[in-house]
Symmetry: C2
Subunit: 287 residues, 2 copies
């Protein structure tokens, strides 16, 4: 029996403009997770990326498929899953179990030492169950079930792992510190981690998915909008150019850029290097 | 948004006889995991336990039940699951996902900061796929499928987490560093971790399950054998008093006590405190 020493490697993280170390928080969208080849290629690029990094993953269609197989009916409102007890169980199994551990095992095979965590682990993300009476504007009030809204991120734990040269792979399941797990939007988790860690690092938040960026024409993947500021965002929403699931994603992006995150880019998972270097995707601009 | 500092609490771990800090490695058996009340009470006792601690859990009947629901046929040889690709998926979902995260969430609710890990996370446990041609004595050779035999435990990672006052909750899934997850016997994982960590700590290994200890009469829970040494073990096997699933468990226990682990006790999960204090269960004796 040999023991493994993980502290042998020197940690290299580039310094940002302000002298802070750079941290990449990268969200990988569901559709990539469903595609074995694309996921594998993405994980290779992620592994090659130098510096501190956190990967937040969604769940893809696997949870929906398992729910169907088990006869658990799924409800979606505004693209968000209504999470009853059975759905929470499926989400926890698929997100925090199957997907999370397979991503970690693949990263280990690329010599990218990583650790897969849910929000419960090490008290990483504390949340509360979304109240059924939450005001939702003209959409009335909805009970989302076991869905969490994030209260706090354990900055010390994230920092301690990163500085041991361990990347984090985070499943979108949080907890309320009273023993209850909560299904939580992965875009929001990426935003909250990016914001919280920006006290320590120069954080670059990358939302990567199957499209090349935010598109002028949802049917034309070459119609990428290079930059969006809050005024332009309002205009794009008013003209229904940005709609449906892109709205909460962009809300998260603006929340991040307006609360300490250095850079937010939205784009194609297969172009991770270009998203990092700023030569592809849509950049979110502060004002 | 608040941040949580996990480093505020002073870490207390009693010193053992040899001046080393004490580490409890506790395996919790499947049948307890299936019983919500017993599990909850066990986790409360585990939380109250002072000192460094690692919890290794099995899977209970949940994986078998899910396999049935999904129409995946299960095969067992010598009480060990044959793990095909579909079974591995179920095992990863149930063990590393559902059970692991629910245990961690419950421990958090008892203010026991814990982190749930599989063997892939942080490269915690490196294993290799068991070879189909492994000699099995007169039982011939069997292909167990995606089943792992442990090669190495990441002592530095375990130590680093324990010394941040974080308990570890370990699911019996390992990896081969080539991207392949492997189903691994939880008793063996407890043994391997106990052995590996005994270079750093005075390790007490507790195998807890639904019975009061190793029994003279499997039907009589009051017939606990107080101590077993290797000679007596052979005798008990020869007389068929110890048989079936207790044999690999005791093989693990002897392997641990003969390779640096200070104390090995087998007993009832509901009596955790007494197992720790040495007033219940079966003690495994070196020679």
């Amino acid at each position: 029996m040999n023991t493994i020493n993980i502290f042998n490697n020197l940690v290299y993280s580039p310094l940002g403009d302000g002298g802070k170390k750079v941290l990449y928080v990268i969200k990988i969208g569901g559709n990539i997770i469903d595609d074995e080849t694309k996921l594998s290629s993405f994980l290779q690029s992620f592994s090659n990326l130098e510096g501190y990094k956190v990967l937040v993953h969604g769940g893809g269609k696997l949870a929906t498929k398992l729910a169907e197989q088990l006869g658990v009916e799924q409800q979606l409102i505004d693209g968000r899953r209504i999470t009853d007890a059975e759905t929470l169980k499926i989400v926890t199994m698929v997100y925090a179990g199957y997907i999370n551990k397979n991503i970690v095992a693949q990263l280990q095979s690329h010599n990218c030492n990583s650790i897969g965590l849910s929000g419960a682990d090490g008290n990483l993300i504390q949340a509360h169950k979304r109240l059924a009476s939450s005001p939702l504007g003209d959409r009335g009030s909805i009970d989302y079930g076991f869905v969490g809204d994030v209260d706090a991120v354990n900055v010390s734990l994230v920092k301690s792992l990163l500085e041991q040269n361990i990347s984090l792979v985070i499943a979108p399941v949080t907890q309320d510190q009273k023993g209850q797990l909560l299904n939580t939007n992965a875009d929001t988790i990426a935003q909250e981690i990016a914001k919280a860690m920006s006290t320590e690092y120069e954080v670059h938040l990358i939302y990567s998915f199957e499209k090349s960026g935010v598109l002028m024409n949802a049917e034309d993947d070459s119609s990428v909008i290079g930059q969006i500021n809050p005024g332009y965002y309002k205009e794009l929403k008013d003209h229904n150019i940005i709609f449906a699931g892109m709205i909460p994603k962009l809300d998260n992006a603006f929340m991040a850029i307006q609360h300490g995150v250095k850079r937010v880019v939205i784009g194609k998972a297969e172009q991770l290097d270009q998203l990092i270097s700023g030569t592809a995707g849509t950049s979110i601009i502060y004002e």
